[in-house]
Structures are given as C-alpha cells and as structure tokens.
C-alpha cells in the first residue's frame, strides 16, 4: 500500500464514528470607528519602530525622495506609480545584485490598522518577493483607501493564489532573552508613506 493510501486509511479509521463539526462560530470583530482607522494604522506601524510619513498625493514623489538614503542606490519594481529619479527598475536582478542595492520603493495591496500590518501581493508596483527583502531599506507606499480595520477584512480582500508577504515593522527578533530587537535578515529600516 502506498504511504498516501495508508495515511488516509489511518485517518479514516481514527475518525470512525466521530461527528463532523459543521458549526464553526464566526470570529468576533473589533469595533474601531471608521474615521479612526487610518490614524490607528499609523500609530500601530510606529509601535514597531517603523518610520511613518503622511502626505498628500501631490507630495508623494518628494516624500519618497526624502525617505531614501542620500546618495544610496535604489531599485523599483515595474509599474511603480511614482517617479524615483536615479532608481534602477528591476529586470530580474540576481540576489547578489540586489544585495548591493541600498533601498527599494514599492506599493502595497492592503494595510491593516489593528495590527499595523502592510500586505504585499507582489502585483504591479510591488515587484517580486526578493525585491522588497534583500535591500536594507524598504520604503512602502500605502494609500489611505487601502487601509482596512483588522485581519479578517484583509483576508477577505487578498487572493491566496498570489504569493503574499505580511509585514509588521522592520525585521526583528525576540530570540535573545525574549527582548525584541529590530534588524536581522529582512530590511532593517521600514519607512511607510501613507498617501491621501
């Protein structure tokens, strides 16, 4: 018998006579007021010691420029909705090439207020996953209309067939005495630009 058949057989015999559970309670939702959602998002992202800048759509290019390291190299994904002077557009750079670049600018798919999370679905303007991972600084643009209240709202919006990266603050670890320190393998600097 194949391992597959044997394991499925063991599962079926273990569950013989066990009733299926059809009644799964709906998870409770938070009651955050709609007009406070963006403000809460900013607070919660800052809690992770990420830098947050709010700006009007007309000031986006200048705000992004100001967030980038002076004189550093910058990579952007195809389809980015803002001009970044001097930036290299990603055309399939190798990981080693990305490792020599200082910063990356991307957009996002959704922002989650309650948890201070940004989710990338790596569509146009966001780039493939390696792009927002290897450079040490990530400047991420989130539009106010992309910010939702909590995790269930984001789960409902996101397409699981796309690769997704949920980002809550810069790379961090609690592995030394359970004390959180920022900056391990992912970008050590996360700068979120909230537009609108």
């Amino acid at each position: 018998m194949s391992a597959r058949e044997e394991i499925l057989g063991r599962v079926r015999s273990a569950l013989e006579g066990v009733e299926r559970l059809t009644d799964v309670p709906v998870a409770p939702r938070v009651t955050t007021a709609a007009d406070r959602v963006v403000e809460l998002f900013v607070e919660r992202v800052e809690d992770y010691r990420a830098v947050v800048t709010r700006c009007a759509p007309a000031d986006l290019a200048a705000t992004v420029r100001a967030a980038l390291p002076a004189g550093g190299t910058v990579v952007v994904p195809p389809g980015l909705g803002v001009e970044v002077p001097g930036a290299i557009e990603d055309t399939g750079l190798t990981a080693a090439e990305l490792d020599r670049i200082d910063a990356v600018v991307t957009e996002a798919r959704v922002g989650i207020a309650e948890t201070g999370t940004i989710v990338l679905d790596h569509g146009p303007g966001q780039g493939r996953r390696a792009l927002s991972l290897v450079p040490d600084q990530h400047v991420c643009i989130v539009r106010v209309d992309q910010v939702v209240t909590d995790v269930p709202d984001a789960v409902a919006l996101l397409d699981p067939l796309r690769p997704l990266t949920w980002i809550s603050g810069p790379s961090a670890t609690s592995d030394i005495e359970l004390d959180r320190v920022e900056g391990v393998h992912g970008p050590r600097h996360l700068h979120v630009v909230v537009v609108g």
């Binding site: 499925l8 989650i112 796309r162 690769p163 949920w166 790379s171």
Partner: protein, 502 residues
C-alpha cells in the same frame, strides 16, 4: 552537529539536574515573565477593541479552536483537497508515514540537485524527525537560519523552548558561542563583538547572508496549510524565513497532516491568536503565504511532504485528539510553573512544557519509561489551558494519559508503587474498622515524621522532602507530614468540635 534527545533520563531525574542550575533558572524566569506580561496586555487590548459583555479574546479562542477542530474531524477530505490544490499549482506532493520516509524524501530532493547544503526555516516538525542529522549522514549540511536555532546549532546544544529554542542561554553565553564557533562554519563573528542583542543579531545577519545568497535548496515547515487553496503559511520574525522561501530555486516543506485549515477565510482567527500568544505582539514581523509555484517569483520547484509520524495515532485517541489543534505558540510553556523551573531539556523532546507532556505520549504511544514520565510532569494547575489560544484542555489530557500509563502496567509482575498504594487504600477504605487502624497508624507516623520535617509548607504545616525508604512520589515532591490525629478520632474526642478545648 546538534545534540540529540535520544536516551534522555525520565523527567524527575532530568528535572532534578535542571533545578540545580541557578543560571538556567534565572534565564528562564526572566524570559518567561517578560513574555507573560506582553501577552496579557494584548489579551486585555483585544477584549477592549472587540467590546461586548463576553470577553472578546475568549470568543476569538472559541473560533480558533473550532477552526482547528473542524479541520481535524474532516481530515481525510481536507488532505485530499490540499493535495489536489497543490498539484494543480505545480507543487509535488509526497506522503510520509514516519520520520525515516520524510527524511528520505528531503534527502532525495537535495541529491537530485547535487546540493551539499540546504538553508532551513525554523520548523518544529523537521526537529521532530531529526532531518538535520539525516541530511548530514548523506553529506548534505543543513544550516539553521533562525537566530535561536543558530545559537543551538553552533553551541552543539538542544532546543529548550518551542518558540525560542535558546531561551536557556543569556546574551553573554550567546556572544561566547558566536565568537567560538562561527568561524568554523562560515563568516567569523567580528572580533569586537559585544553582548548587546542588536549587535549579536547583526553578527547573525552577516554570518548567514552568504548562505542565503548561494543556497539552491531550502527546507521549511508550515504553520498552516489551507486545504481549499493549497496555500502554505509561514509565520516568522527575522526575515530568515522569507530568505529561504524566496531566494533558492527549490523549496521542500515538511508539513504535519494536522496543520490543515479548511478554507482561506478560516485563517483569520488563527492569524490573530498566534502572534499574541506566541511573542506577545499584535502581529509578527513577517508572514509569508505561497500556493505552489509562482512563475518568475521564488522557487520554481516546490515540494510538500505530508507527514503522519504518530499524528493518526493521536487522532484516534478520543480525549487526546484535541492536542492536534496545537499551533505551536508556546504560551503554555511560558505560564507553566513546572516549565519555568525545569526548562525544556528535562522533557527530553523537541516538544517541551505542558503541550510536550501530552503530545509526546500521544504521538509515540505510552510504554517507554521516559515518555511515560511526561504526563506526571505537571501540577495540574490549569494555567496552560487558560493560556492556550485553541483551548486544548491539557490537564484533562494529562489525567487521561496518566490513566493510560497506569493501565499499561496492570499486568506487570512487580506492580508500580502507585498501584500498590491504591490497592492498599482500597483495602483500608472499604471497611470502617480497617480504616480506624490505618488512621491510628498514620497518626503515629505523623508524630514521628513531624520531628523529621525540615521545611514548612504554606500555612505553616511541616513537610517532608524525603520520606525514609526513598519513595518515588517524594523524590519529586515535598509531602505534607501526616496529621498527628485522624479526623474520626478528633470528632470522637471533641464531640464533633463542640468540645474543641477538651
């Protein structure tokens, strides 16, 4: 490379050794109290932000428990759906009955790509099956990339916590390990390395970067596997997971069959419960989800190994089945008074603490002395159940497993001390006259033993830390000295308390 748990002593002996290590006790008390404080603040915050009369956190727990329970009770159907969805998205699905089969699959994938090394995302299941050792035996080096796993691997040590395997090490010890060992396996630690956590994390970043950039094959586990879409989920903090899941050409994920979540939407309560219970954060820094192969992004060859290794045995246990709901958050470890004092090594398994005390016997079956000692590694205080985000009633399963352990010894030629005591109790308690004799004997023993009592229990009662004769019970516990007078004698003497002064 790392140590092994094989041949570990039974819990009481291992615990006695651990308790004598004051550095270990200090490290553990510091770490677990930090994390307990962070978690309880977030639980309060969830209660406030959800509002309503009932606790919002409790309702979230109920939803999370129901998601996992519904997955388990329909596991065969969900596994078939998962396989179908993964295959449709270009992944290769393998099934493994046990550790040896799973290890052989991973080894064969690595060999097919002539890889002499793999990079690894922190994963409990690959520890459980001893994958690193199996790869090494075939000439493939496995690099642990999670900071705590790296500390354990470089220190030839054993993991002692589910979330933070190096919880027993403090910053000074970690600095010493990095300075001594990094140079043997890659980029050396900088000579001026301090014991600042940020500096230590920086050293790990430098050390591992070259491995991430050159690795062809990565190995991961998965926190969740969504049956209806074929999506795997890895929850992490450092970005080492993202590196492994994104940069190599080939990815092999070993997934226990209990990791199944029926639908994408059902991930919601679990993604809210896990980080708050685990690291005490609203959300962990990085969560990656991927569904098979994405052309032009990440590994173009994706393997998923669905592993049993005792899970169907646990599933067949009516009471114990709930342990398979576990999402490996480690909240039960952080609140456990036994774990806080003994640390993880005493449990002799990659799954320590309260969840380990039930999961190991459920996965392996009872009968081995070390495994059989685990259900007794608890005071049944119930803190673990209170903390569990998926409401696993650990004390209930502990009691159930103790009964199994006792049942397993019914036919022994030399009965266990506990069985002898119970039989003696049955003899004495079933007859009033016999009970009277027994009580008088105990009163005498109490008066004698009271003189030897060296310590007082809370309330001022004298205790015996060792009863002459070396009882198995008191080698692990302090026993209150018996009362000098039985209740029945006292009742007779004082006329039911009315003449207490007599």
């Amino acid at each position: 490379m790392s140590g092994t748990f094989v041949g570990m002593p039974v819990f009481p002996s291992a615990a006695r050794t651990a308790l004598a290590d004051t550095q270990l006790r200090h490290n553990l008390a510091h770490a677990t109290s930090t994390i307990r404080g962070k978690r309880s603040r977030l639980v309060e915050e969830v209660d406030e932000s959800i509002g309503g009369d009932d606790s919002g956190w409790e309702r979230l727990r109920l939803a999370g428990a129901a998601v996992k329970e519904s997955a388990l009770r329909d596991l065969d159907r969900h596994l078939v759906a998962l396989e179908e969805a993964l295959t449709a998205r270009g992944a290769t699905v393998h099934w493994a009955r046990d550790a040896a089969e799973a290890n052989a699959i991973v080894v064969s994938v690595a060999k097919a790509h002539q890889a002499d090394e793999v990079v690894k995302v922190k994963s409990m299941v690959t520890q459980e099956i001893g994958l690193n050792e199996a790869l090494e035996a075939e000439g493939v080096l496995a690099w642990e990339t999670d900071l705590a796993e790296l500390i354990v691997q470089l220190g030839d040590d054993l993991p002692s916590h589910i979330l933070v395997p190096a919880i027993h090490r403090n910053r000074a010890e970690i600095r010493e390990i990095f300075l001594r060992r990094m140079k043997d396996v890659g980029r050396p630690a900088p000579a001026d390395l301090t014991d600042e956590p940020a500096v230590l994390a920086g050293a790990a970043r430098e050390h591992l970067r070259e491995k991430f950039l050159r690795a062809k094959v990565a190995v991961s586990g998965a926190n969740f596997a969504v049956a209806d879409t074929g999506t795997l989920v890895v929850v992490e903090s450092e970005g080492n997971g993202r590196m492994c899941l994104t940069l190599p050409e080939v990815l092999v994920s070993v997934v226990g069959i209990e990791k199944v979540v029926p639908t994408w939407e059902m991930l919601d309560p679990l993604l809210r419960l896990l980080p708050r219970s685990s690291t005490g954060e609203r959300m962990n820094p990085y969560t990656s989800t991927w569904t098979g192969v994405t052309p032009g992004d990440g590994p173009q060859e994706v393997h998923v190994v669905l592993l049993d290794n005792g899970r169907t045995r646990a599933l067949a246990d009516e009471v114990g089945r709930q342990a398979l709901r576990c999402i490996r958050c480690s909240a039960c470890l952080n609140v456990c008074p036994v774990y806080e004092r003994t640390g993880g090594h005493a449990y002799g398994s990659v799954y320590p603490g309260p969840i380990g005390a039930i999961l190991n016997p459920l996965l392996r079956g009872t009968g081995d002395p070390q495994t059989d000692s685990l259900p007794y590694a608890s005071s049944l205080c119930g803190a673990c159940f209170e903390a569990c985000p998926v409401r696993i009633d650990i004390p209930e399963v502990l009691v159930h497993l103790r009964a199994k352990v006792v049942d397993g010894h019914r036919g022994d030629r030399v009965p266990k001390a506990e069985a002898v005591a119970m039989r003696a109790a049955e003899f004495a308690l079933s007859d009033a006259r016999r009970l009277g004799w027994a009580e008088r004997a105990s009163g005498v023993a109490g008066r004698v033993a009271g003189r030897f009592g060296r310590r007082a229990l809370p309330g001022g009662r004298r205790s015996l830390s060792r009863v002459p004769g070396g009882s198995a019970w008191t080698s692990a516990r302090d026993l209150p000295a018996p009362a000098t007078e039985s209740f029945r004698t006292w009742w007779k003497r004082t006329d039911g308390g009315r003449e207490e002064t007599r």
